[in-house]
């Protein structure tokens, strides 16, 4: 792991250029450019708001829905892009020698930059609609955990997809399931009654790291009550496991990338 960090710092210029490249080419030749980073979630929010609030009369406050979709969008972008991090750069992997980890990492970081910008826009929205910010001190922890989770998942997926192209198809289905297991379009308070009835369900639910991460975001940005810290700790622990296994899977498989492409 220490060697890996050294490798990455030695190539930090390359990493920053790859991040810049990924940001640039995503919106190249589109009239609205970066605005699409915002328009995507905005349309999603409008769709969910219409169906949940108008059609289904589901009592979800707009700030909860907005924060849920924006935060979820970062992971969803990483899941969508990462399958192609290696196979989409086959030529580079076969013809040039550099730490392969930079390819998925640069995608995760480019999406992170987009996410931070969209967070700014969301902050403006929250100021306009009025509710006070919450315990903002939780925000850095939320961001770091979120980033670690996206990195771990992306590394694992892009490496596995080199050997099994089924991964990219499974990812779509998996993302959908994960979306509903995460309190994106509902609030964590809605499942608290259930977890109080069945105490084992709480830890189980928070084994989805996004449950803890999204709770942290909402505590920081909306002032929602923080769930039990032991539950948050479970999410953080699982995130650490995902991150470490993502790196290990990637490093184990990467010497064979060029052979398979």
């Amino acid at each position: 792991m220490a060697g890996l960090i050294k490798d990455i710092t030695a190539h930090r210029d390359l990493l920053s250029m790859l991040v810049a490249r990924n940001i640039k080419i995503r919106y190249k030749e589109s009239a609205l450019g970066f605005l699409w980073t915002l328009l995507g979630p905005v349309f999603l929010i409008l769709i969910y708001a219409f169906f949940m609030k108008v059609v289904m009369k589901f009592p979800i406050p707009m700030p909860v829905l907005v924060s849920g979709i924006f935060v979820w969008q970062y992971l969803a972008m990483c899941l969508g892009d990462s399958s192609f991090a290696i196979i989409g750069n086959a030529n580079l992997v076969k013809k040039a020698c550099f730490p392969r980890l930079l390819l998925p990492l640069s995608i995760v970081l480019a999406n992170f930059v987009n996410f931070l910008l969209s967070l700014l826009v969301m902050a403006v929205y929250l100021l306009i609609v009025g509710p006070h910010f919450g315990a903002i001190a939780w925000l850095p922890l939320a961001l770091i955990t979120h980033l670690a989770l996206c990195t771990g998942v992306s590394l694992g997926l892009c490496a596995l997809n080199v050997f099994l192209r089924d991964v990219q198809h499974l990812t779509g289905i998996f993302t959908m399931a994960w979306f509903f297991l995460t309190p994106v379009v509902y609030d964590i308070s809605m499942i608290t009654p259930i977890t109080q009835q069945h105490p084992f369900l709480g830890p189980l639910y928070f084994m989805n790291p996004m449950a803890g991460i999204l709770s942290l975001y909402r505590t920081a940005l909306l002032g929602s009550p923080l769930p039990d810290l032991s539950l948050i700790a479970i999410s953080l622990l699982v995130t650490t496991l995902v991150f470490v296994s993502g790196v290990l899977i990637f490093q184990k498989l990467q010497p064979r990338f060029a052979d398979e492409l």
């Binding site: 190539h11 490249r21 080419i25 030529n91 020698c97 099994l164 089924d166 398979e260």
Partner: protein, 395 residues
Amino acid sequence: MSDIAIQVEGVSKRFRLRSAGGNTLKALVMDRFRSGADTSRELWALKDVSFTVEKGTTLGLIGANGAGKSTLLALLAGTMMPTEGRLKTHGTISSLLELGAGFHPDLTGRENVFLAGAIMGLTREQVNRRFDAIVEFADIGRFIDQPVKHYSSGMYVRLGFAVAVEVDPDVLLVDEVLAVGDASFQRKCLRRMAEFREQKKTMLIISHDLNTIQTVSDQILFLDHGRVLGHGAPSQVIGQYETFSRDQVSSDRRREWGTREVILTGAQFLNEAGQETTRVTWGEALTIRLHYEAKTPVGPSVFGYSISDEQGRLVHGNNTQIEKVSIPSLSGRGTLVLKLPSLNLAKGTYLFSFSVHSADHQVNYHRLDHAFAIGVEATKSFEGLCYMPCEWKLE
């Protein structure tokens, strides 16, 4: 030892061949169901390859397609790992495995130069310092701020080459990049590579252009099916390779048929000095002694010969009937002498065919098609396969 730049010890590289399904779950499951250790699904691109390259040496790699040359460079560049054995390289390496490999079509030339430089291990600052030299070498002027997808293929490879050589490595790996680009670009590349040699840098070059590789290399490594068949002085190893590939060509295209009442038992090719040879020089005389054996006596017969190029295209053909040489009957063993006073063929490899049939063309006794491969060296360069004696005169 400090004067060794590259050391390769017993290196082998195995590729696993996937079934047509490719990298999918179905293919994986199907592969598992078939026998476990299925060696037909393996390909050894390199097998027990060992050699060393001293600092300042240019090593040329030659061999047919699939010989393992590119795999060897990929291993040295570090993009692939050997299955067995060890490779050691000393100093920084820059590889021209493909020109402009790191370029993204939507980025401008300028952005791509920085990106490609960073991929080769330069910092932004280092690329900055070399930027002007790169643009000048590539000679693309104001196009540098255009997306590279609008470049002509020539501009694209010029920029790719410029970045790679400006990295200024200790060891440069070059894979068949001289085949791209126009003549003036190729001259520029060769000049740049000559500078490299003067600076006592180490180079490994793959090229199918034997003339070029002979002039730029200090040593040649000849690979075939992943094994080293020759390593040494350029002229000697290239000669060995040419003989090898000529035999390969004629064995690929060789065909033989006939009623076999008369058989052609062999042909000897003699140069002007009367020595047997498979290499002749343009304009020299070639004598062919064609041996036959008539198993059963036959009546009036005709012997013919033809010359084809490597692709099997007929260049010239002739027979005894056309030349009005009468052969009323054949019996027992004999030899027919064919003399070509001046071989007017362009440089290349040619396949000789011989035949013997009845004078009325009704019975084919024996035909040997594309059976003998002869290499022709040309001191004169001209267009086409054949030379037509000519005189130019200004009036």
